[in-house]
């Protein structure tokens, strides 16, 4: 028997709780109003091109990404623009958003809303890149990096592999899993499009071994294509981190501070590949996505296809309503997601899941002194020493934190997860990264 691939350094094995894994994707009815934040991606916010009182159609451009790293935003419902103002986003910050009052569901005419799978790729390489940019596609794995930027390989670098991330290593989340099982054909066309857009020959799809149905399904479809390999990976968090995934699949290490292209790779999430299919083949902008709504006490953990801008509350209601003992609601995975301040916060392009935690699991374990057990060091997938980085941050020794490679931290949370003393190592390291980042920036000026 072949041993399954995985990354070497560090990593943890949290309990999986993939309780929604067998729930087929359901379409959530259109909400009454949507709040669509105009900055849903990594990089610069986009410029709003509609005003209060405008009538918009589903799929119409409402904010234009003008900077190099920015993305277009489209109306996810048809109706009337109620306001263009700041709303509370998932992190509890007020950010500019377009609020649309839904009236019917009238789509832009040029969008193909039929269910027919269109396999033939007619777009040229340049047309693919342009279409992905036009339709506001961003990385759906969580980082929301504009996808068209990834397809523009910097001068002097060559892309050798397109890597498709179907790892979904976060506990609880199953949206990528369902997408792979239910939309495999479309996904594979999306991968072919990305391949063409990028100009690479070889594609590797990485899926953790806890999703055998997805591995089997995609392997069968991949057999019809050239140079698309599906790899089953040993389950280990954070394998979905792109640096860990490249290491697992190819044994290559992305150098510190560099992007995957440095080792000839471009990584895209399965959700992104699906969105690319819809954008290029169906002319459909990124206005909806699959979101896992789950939690141990939730009546009906589900995978829902949701319009961007839908309030979190609607998803929870669909899943059976908020349990009475709820203590925390997390936007994203339990390892890297953010605790929500309000259930009115909108679903955005980067929302992969909504997880409801009961009260007894909402609070952190009690804080004790560090006993230097080294469990955080053993768990760190980047080979750092979280206990020292946290100490250096606490003492505001930014230079020494930099020397100890604090900027290499990918914020996966394995250190805090594994700490027997309940030390909030990642909290301190985040503060340190912010300060060290500022210090480096100032030095450059």
């Amino acid at each position: 028997m072949k041993t399954l691939k995985t990354f070497k350094l560090g990593g943890i094995h949290p309990q999986e709780y993939k309780i929604a894994a067998d729930q087929p994707i359901e379409v959530l009815p259109i909400p009454k109003t949507v709040d669509i934040p105009v900055a849903q991606n990594l990089g610069a916010p986009s410029k709003v091109v509609v005003k209060k009182g405008d009538q918009v159609k589903t799929g119409q451009l409402i904010a234009k990404g003008e900077a190099f790293i920015s993305a277009n935003v489209h109306a996810s419902v048809s109706g009337k623009v109620k306001k263009v103002d700041d709303v509370l986003d998932a992190s509890g910050y007020k950010r500019p958003a377009v609020t649309i009052q839904a009236e019917g569901d009238e789509w832009e005419e040029d969008i193909d809303t039929s269910g027919e799978i269109k396999k033939e790729i007619t777009a040229s390489q340049q047309e693919i890149v342009d279409k992905i940019q036009e339709k506001g596609i961003v990385g759906l794995g969580g980082a929301t990096f504009p996808s068209h930027v990834k397809l523009k390989v910097p001068e002097g670098k060559t892309a050798e592999y397109l890597i498709i991330n179907g790892v979904e290593c976060e506990p609880f989340l199953t949206s990528d899993h369902r997408l792979m099982v239910e939309k495999g054909e479309e996904l594979m066309v999306g991968i072919e499009i990305l391949k063409k857009g990028l100009g690479v020959e070889k594609v590797l799809i990485g899926i953790e071994n806890n999703k055998p149905d997805a591995i089997k399904h995609l392997s069968e479809i991949a057999a019809q294509y050239n140079n698309i390999e599906v790899h089953a990976l040993k389950v280990k968090y954070p394998q979905g981190g792109e640096k860990q995934l490249i290491k697992a699949l190819l044994g290559r290490e992305v150098p510190s501070g560099k992007l995957p292209i440095e080792v000839g790779c471009v990584v895209n999430n399965v959700g992104t590949a699906y969105a690319v299919y819809e954008a290029v083949q169906k002319n459909k902008p990124l206005i909806e996505r699959v979101v896992t709504v789950t939690g141990k006490k939730l009546e009906k953990p589900s995978n829902l296809q949701v319009r961007i801008g839908t309030p979190v509350k609607d998803l929870i209601d669909k899943a059976g309503g908020l349990p009475g003992d709820t203590g925390k609601v997390v936007n994203g995975g339990p390892m890297m997601g953010k605790a929500l301040t309000s259930l009115e916060a909108p679903i955005v392009k980067g929302t992969s899941g909504v997880i409801v935690f009961p009260e007894e699991e909402a609070n952190r374990p009690p804080l004790k002194s560090c006993i230097r057990c080294g469990k955080c060091v053993a768990a760190c997938p980047m080979g750092l020493e979280p206990l020292y980085l946290a100490q250096l941050s606490e003492k505001e020794l930014w230079e020494r934190a930099e020397e100890n490679l604090i900027m290499d931290c990918i914020e996966c949370g394995s250190c805090h997860y594994t700490c027997p003393s309940g030390r909030p190592l990642l909290d301190y390291i985040r503060v340190g990264k912010t300060n060290v980042g500022q210090m480096i920036k100032n030095r450059g000026n």
Binding site: G337, A339, C373, P381, S421
Partner: protein
């Protein structure tokens, strides 16, 4: 639900805590404790009780009246120190020496540095070495297993009887009489089971290994220190033995005698006083193994485990500083 809890990620945590880890260590020490009860009877029970109760008492008193901070005697670490200290003394040690040893272990070894997590040295070993140097006679009188147990009472043992039921440890014999001295001593099977003179907890290699495997299985400890420590001491002893078997004992003898196995699994692996990275732990283990054999073979003490581990404890900050984990995305040369 009135309010949602807001905190940074991660939102799930491993089901672990300091007490949980500590009590697993205690569970792992049970087989060796049972062996000592069997071999030394009431004598062993007496020493265990005095040691553990004294450790609890001194930790409580110091936290309550000197530090005036939170009382953490329930975290299990005082219990471990108490058991380990008892493991490291002969069953005949007078009660008041045990109390002094516990005071030094907890007071000097741990609390004077600020408590659990701050101590550079293994507290039990600090106490043990203090006792060994201060009370050299009582600390090196070894009641014979089984033979001696019927003469023990809770008060200890009469000195006159004691002299008739004590004997040297295998390592002591080696020190005194050379390789010929150990050839007629008890066989390996007896030694592995615990039928030899020695400190209460160190005599049964098999019981200690069972507990050690449990700790590895439950991932309380990792393999790095035990493997490096056992491997290096075995290798060095083997080199010496190959060089001159008439002068040096064979490596298996070194493995099963004295406190080596006890040190390897339960004292060198102490979280607080050993290095944090896998690489550092291997350096630490190798250093302790080499020092142990050097002290045993060339030093004036027959046994070197305690000193070797304490010396490596002293080197731990340096090891942590110099030997960094393997970094992701850095060339090995740049890693330091």
């Amino acid at each position: 639900m009135d309010k949602l809890v807001i905190s940074g990620s991660p939102h799930v945590h491993q089901n672990t805590s300091i007490p949980k880890l500590m009590y697993m260590v205690v569970i792992a020490m049970i087989p060796a404790m049972l062996v000592s009860f069997y071999m030394f009877g009431l004598g062993a029970l007496r020493v265990f009780l005095i040691s553990v109760l004294s450790c609890y008492l001194f930790e409580y008193l110091i936290q309550r009246y000197l530090i005036r901070g939170p009382i953490t005697i329930n975290d299990g670490s005082a219990l471990i120190t108490g058991i380990l200290l008892a493991f490291n003394v002969p069953s005949s040690v007078p009660w008041w020496m045990m109390v002094v040893g516990a005071l030094v272990a907890i007071g000097m070894g741990k609390m004077s540095f600020g408590g659990l997590g701050k101590n550079p040295f293994n507290p039990a070993l600090v106490g043990r070495v203090f006792m060994l140097i201060s009370f050299p006679v009582e600390m090196t009188r070894w009641p014979k297993p089984i033979v001696s147990r019927e003469y023990f009472s809770f008060a200890g043992m009469d000195d006159k009887i004691l002299d008739t039921v004590t004997g040297p440890t295998p390592l002591g014999k080696l020190q005194e009489e050379g390789v010929e001295g150990i050839s007629e001593s008890s066989g390996y099977a007896d030694m592995v089971l615990g039928q030899m003179g020695g400190s209460m907890g160190e005599i049964s290699a098999i019981a200690l290994v069972i507990g050690g495997l449990y700790l590895l299985y439950r991932r309380v400890i990792t393999w790095h220190i035990p493997v490096a420590y056992l491997g290096s001491s075995f290798a060095l002893a083997a080199i010496l033995w190959f060089a001159d078997p008439t002068q040096y004992a064979d490596p298996f003898f070194h493995l099963v005698t004295g406190g080596l196995i006890l040190g390897v699994f339960y004292m060198a692996t102490d979280y607080v006083s050993s290095p944090i990275s896998a690489k550092g732990q291997i350096i630490f283990g190798v250093g302790a193994g080499v020092l142990t054999i050097i002290i045993r073979v060339f030093g004036s003490y027959p046994e070197g485990v305690s000193f070797a581990i304490l010396l490596m404890n002293a080197a731990t900050p340096l090891i942590n500083n110099r030997f960094k984990p393997k970094r992701f995305g850095h060339k090995p040369a740049k890693a330091a």
